[in-house]
Symmetry: C2
Subunit: 163 residues, 2 copies
DNA sequence: TATAGATATTACATAAATGAATTAAATTAC
DNA sequence: GTAATTTAATTCATTTATGTAATATCTATA
């Protein structure tokens, strides 16, 4: 898992067998997959002591970072990239743990608004130092300029995937 | 899902509540997650007509791109990033479909060597044009220079995650 | 205001992934 | 040469994620 070289060699061998296979796009897609997995596993390890996994943490941080502090289930699904059925399961778990609370929206009674409880706020306060250390560590090989440049390129890539 | 702006706004609001939260690393991690999901879903949609999902396709391409054409189960796990238990499940499915075949390794009888069958080779030959088109389309907003630069930065990021 | 159509949420069934434990074969140490 | 250790692959139980369909509520328009 530590070296990406074998992956590149396989892509090169694939191109010998099938020349139109586009090297750079294939390398980039594999890198994204590889990085995602490492970041995801790393985050899970950091969050486990707090009784959370990465998707649960993401939902809590969506609420923490939202002015007003409340989002509907579908807004959470949209912003977190999870399927709505999965949001129900995850928010059930977070409600059971007492970290978030559901309230019916007054204007649109189809909606269920979700917000952090004091216990949820407290948990985030407790884990943020570890999370910040994790994020800084994960990006430690990139200086400020690298990070800005990478952000720009990833957004450029993103623009080709959504349109 | 199409805009990344709300995510950035949430990160900014998080930083108002908790200033040490590192903006760039958080943005980059979210971008990686976002891009991975889009690429993954996109690939699944392209592969479905061929009766494959993305993990299955990855395993087949590992074998296709390996000189000699055979890998052991643990080598497949290592190179694909899947857990070994998952490799067993996935390769069972691919064997059932007749796309790969298991043979015992002569030197080490604990090992199970996996290789493409003629049917597996044929399927890859059939789907590669679509996959190449997909890859080129996914990276269409990045010119050759962008792609090289992005590859370099992602590898630099990777070096901080594995060590 | 009645009703057709759209949206939000949830429930249920199914699929995919993971972790822990098991079996079998090879390697090492004695 | 035998016992202990390591490694490879699988099985089983559990967790996590997805797709489909059902239910309830809202919106628009005739």
């Amino acid at each position: 898992m530590n070296s990406f070289l074998p992956t590149e060699q396989r892509i090169d061998h694939t191109r010998e067998r099938y020349p139109p296979f586009p090297r750079e796009p294939a390398v980039l897609v594999r890198l994204i997959k590889h990085l995602h997995k490492l970041v995801h596993d790393d985050a899970n390890a950091t969050l486990r002591p707090y009784g959370l996994n990465h998707p649960e943490y993401n939902l809590l941080m969506m609420l923490y970072g939202t002015p007003g502090g409340a989002l509907s289930a579908s807004e959470l699904a949209e912003s977190s990239g999870e399927k709505s059925a999965n949001i129900t399961r995850l928010t059930n778990g977070l409600c059971d743990k007492g970290l978030i609370a559901r309230t019916a929206d007054e204007d649109d009674r189809r909606k269920v608004m979700l917000a952090l409880t004091p216990a949820g706020e407290a948990l985030i306060g407790a884990l943020l130092p570890d999370v910040c250390a994790l994020l800084d560590r994960q990006m430690r090989t990139l200086d400020a300029g690298d990070q800005r440049q990478l952000e720009g390129l990833l957004k450029k890539m993103l623009s080709g995937l959504t349109a």
